[in-house]
């Protein structure tokens, strides 16, 4: 079943999204049997490029050749027909949970290669699925339903599906991020097998730089939508060198950080572990007036840590102490009443009630403060408080009655922040607060955060934008794989070092 040799070349690929040029004049090559690493910092354009190759981003310009023959990839189906398959990190997107492993492996075949046949030949389905798993030396019972599988096994099902499709090129988008060490080792065996015996060309996207040396022969490094380096992986190459190439844009200006006197320890976290091990053994502390950053790449566990601290994910061991009192929250309600506030990453989904007016949003966490004598909520006092906050935070809105959905991203973020300012918490947790926010609003948000610190509050600031962390934080914890791997003072470190530790360097 060895596929014939093939050569894929992408030439001069550019793509634009409203307001951003996501890729500019990118060249990319891949050959049968080759395993090529594709890396870059967040936003460098790796995923965008691979989405062009898999037909999801169909409005690209430039040319794609297979064996010297030009081809158009304008739909996922076109990509599939050319033998290009992609396994996304979110494996559940592509699987039907209550069907069996066998049927899931054969889903594309069932959907596209039945032609006039009306009935399903179950023996054939089972046999072919079993053979595909055997070829890849995977050990999964094909009669199990997919909902019973582990994440690693789900990935294998998708890879097996690609093999059944006789794919020539396979894109693996951060496949190892959710895997344990043994699972990763096993996974590598399968990937090597796929390249050597099946002669499949593989693109391997990963943030774990160390493992690239183990599995890849070539490396393509991207930065700001361009390929900056394309080279074979040799013994002489080091993680430090790769990091040099990856380093992204700097925060546009030198942000003048306010100096605040830092007081006693306010929040102390000891050995906190999330029930499903999303974050493990977290030790950290925050002092009065201090801004503590959680640095890490996407998927490092920052959001999970914020949510565990806030009680939105359940912890199974460890504790959280605030002002010397144990407060380990079991749910967000407890967290709020005990003095924590979270500004979540997914603003529209988790942070605001988009269809409600601004004043309702800004007072939602502290309605107790707006009760009239007969315990009814007083709208006029809500409005009054909202007007004060609009001025304080510089929210750009025609009035406090505006629906939040109609505000810009930055102003929405200010509403979320404002909501917690009204409620008077002790510890403020910000999860990627500058995501999708323009530069002006970014500045405002920074000032807001500093204002909180100046009032003696403690701030936790989670971000993957290292330049921003360097601009605003006092101290930084670097996260990798759900654990804190390094603690540093911001003035003693730099972006390079942060990236080094975030990618698994030690």
């Amino acid at each position: 079943m060895k596929a014939a040799n093939a050569k894929l070349s992408m030439r001069d690929i550019s793509i634009e999204f409203p307001g951003v040029k996501a890729l500019s004049n990118v060249d990319f090559d891949l050959e049968s049997g080759q395993i090529r690493a594709l890396i870059g910092a967040n936003g460098a354009g790796k995923s965008t490029l691979m989405k062009v190759l898999s037909g999801v981003n169909s409005h690209y310009s430039g040319k794609i050749f297979i064996d010297g023959e030009e081809c158009e990839i304008r739909s996922p189906k076109a990509a599939k027909n050319l033998g290009i398959e992609i396994v996304y990190q979110e494996v559940d997107v592509a699987l039907v949970p209550y069907l069996t492993v066998g049927e899931n492996i054969m889903l594309n075949t069932l959907a596209n290669k039945m032609e006039k046949k009306q009935t399903v030949n179950w023996n054939y389905i089972r046999k072919t699925a079993k053979e595909a798993l055997a070829r890849l030396e995977m050990d999964i019972d094909i009669r199990k339903t997919v909902s019973e599988l582990s994440l690693a096994e789900k990935q294998m099902v998708l890879i097996a599906r690609a093999v059944v499709e006789e794919c020539k090129f396979l894109i693996l988008d951060e496949p190892t991020a959710p895997l344990s060490n043994t699972e990763t080792e096993n996974f590598f065996k399968i990937v090597r097998n796929l390249a050597q015996t099946e002669n499949v060309g593989i693109v391997f996207i990963s943030h774990r730089l160390a493992e690239l040396f183990e599995i890849c022969e070539h490396i393509t490094i991207m930065k700001d939508g361009m390929v900056v380096k394309d080279m074979p992986i040799t013994k002489e190459l080091t993680i430090k060198q790769i990091v040099e190439y990856m380093l992204g844009r700097k925060f546009d200006e030198n942000y003048p950080k306010q100096t605040v006197e830092i007081g006693d320890v306010l929040l102390d976290v000891n050995g906190l572990t999330e029930r499903d091990n999303k974050v493990k053994n977290i030790d950290l502390n925050v002092r009065k007036g201090e801004i503590v950053a959680l640095a890490g790449l996407v998927g490092a566990g920052k959001t999970e840590l914020c949510k565990t601290l806030f009680g939105a994910y359940r912890s199974c061991s460890g504790d959280v102490t605030l002002n010397g009192k144990k407060i380990t929250p079991k749910n967000p309600t407890q967290a709020v009443s005990r003095g924590l506030a979270l500004v979540p990453e997914e603003r529209r989904k988790e942070g605001v009630l988009v269809t409600d007016p601004l004043y309702a949003n800004i007072t939602i966490s502290s309605l107790n403060k707006f009760l009239s004598k007969i315990r009814f909520v007083s709208k006029s006092r809500q409005r009054e408080a909202a007007r004060t906050k609009i001025n304080e935070l510089g929210i750009k809105t025609p009035s406090e009655n505006q629906a939040v959905a109609l505000l810009s991203g930055g102003n929405q973020q200010k509403v979320v922040v404002g909501k917690w300012l009204v409620s008077d918490s002790e510890i403020y947790i910000f999860d990627e607060p500058t995501k999708g926010v323009d530069v002006g609003a970014k500045r405002d948000i920074f000032q807001l955060i500093e204002g909180l610190a100046a009032k003696g509050k403690g701030v936790i600031y989670a971000s993957c934008e290292f330049s921003e962390i360097l601009a605003i934080a006092d101290r930084v914890y670097v996260m990798f794989d759900g654990e804190i791997v390094k603690e540093m003072n911001v003035k003693d470190t730099n972006e390079k070092e942060l990236l080094y530790y975030s990618t698994g360097g030690r």
Binding site: P76, K77, D92, V93, A94, L95, V96, P97, Y98, L99, E103, L107, N108, L110, A111, N112, M114, K117, Q118, T119, V120, W122, T145, S147
Partner: protein
Amino acid sequence: MGNASKTVKKSSVMDFTTKWGTLLTIAVMVIVFSITMPTFMTAANMVTIIRAVCIVTVIATGMTISLTVNGLDLSVGSTATFANTVCMTFFVWYSFGDNVGSSLLAILMTIIICTVIAGINALLIVKLRIPDMLATLSTMFMFEGVAMTYAGGGAINENMMRPDGSTAEGQVPDFFREIGKEPWIIIVMLVLVLLVFLFLTYTKHGRYMYAVGGNPEAARLSGINVQKYRALAYLMSTVLASIGGMLIGARVGNAQINSGTPYLMGSVAAAHIGMSVAGVGKPNALGTLAGAILIGVLENGLIMASVPYYAVNIFKGAVLAIALALNYARKK
């Protein structure tokens, strides 16, 4: 160590009960009822139970198909009423029952007219993107009203008085009434259950429906026409509901106002109980049959045990809650 083996044991016991809970419950109920009531375990009573669940089973298999695409067809009860009414008027008002050929034509036309309902359901759900349950809730009201308006606000009987004062002359054909009695009603039900089972398990269309219901995005990216299969599922659901409606007519020989309505909740219950049967974990026709029989045995036994009819629903509701708890606890 001891602790670990205990949890393994506990989970396997839990597994067993969730897998076989429905069948186990039926068995336990049958045993208890036959010990306490000697008349329960007689051939005649068994036939009574099966016969009683035939109509609800047919309608519930339609419901099962709508569940496979992760929908829920609330209009099945009204569809059954509508089919019952239309079919009866063909016989009674327009004398289609005079010979076998035209009787069959009447039955066929009834099914075709009912597919209009499916068309409206599909339009609301697939084109206008109203959530399934709400769309079929509206069509439920609509067709209840249409059936009643068409019937002139009353029941359809042989020899009924027409609005113009004349007497309707048509008769309900004998073979049609025969279908409403055992063994034919049971045979019709079993054949339909088997056909739906085969369709869902062995044809590509059935498998596509499961894929669509399980993960529409994965189905779409695999090249399955998601909207087409959602529409098809509602079409099949409607056809089965209209057959169920005609079986009501065959059983009682007339069309009462809202005759199909009581079957809606029974079929929702049967189809949902059926999901957990044998640990399949998804809607399936054989499970639905088991679910319907469970409800049938329960009802029959309780009534024989002289539980007043108005209290039977308490037990029915409780059994449904337990069956659903077993199914959803497993998913967690």
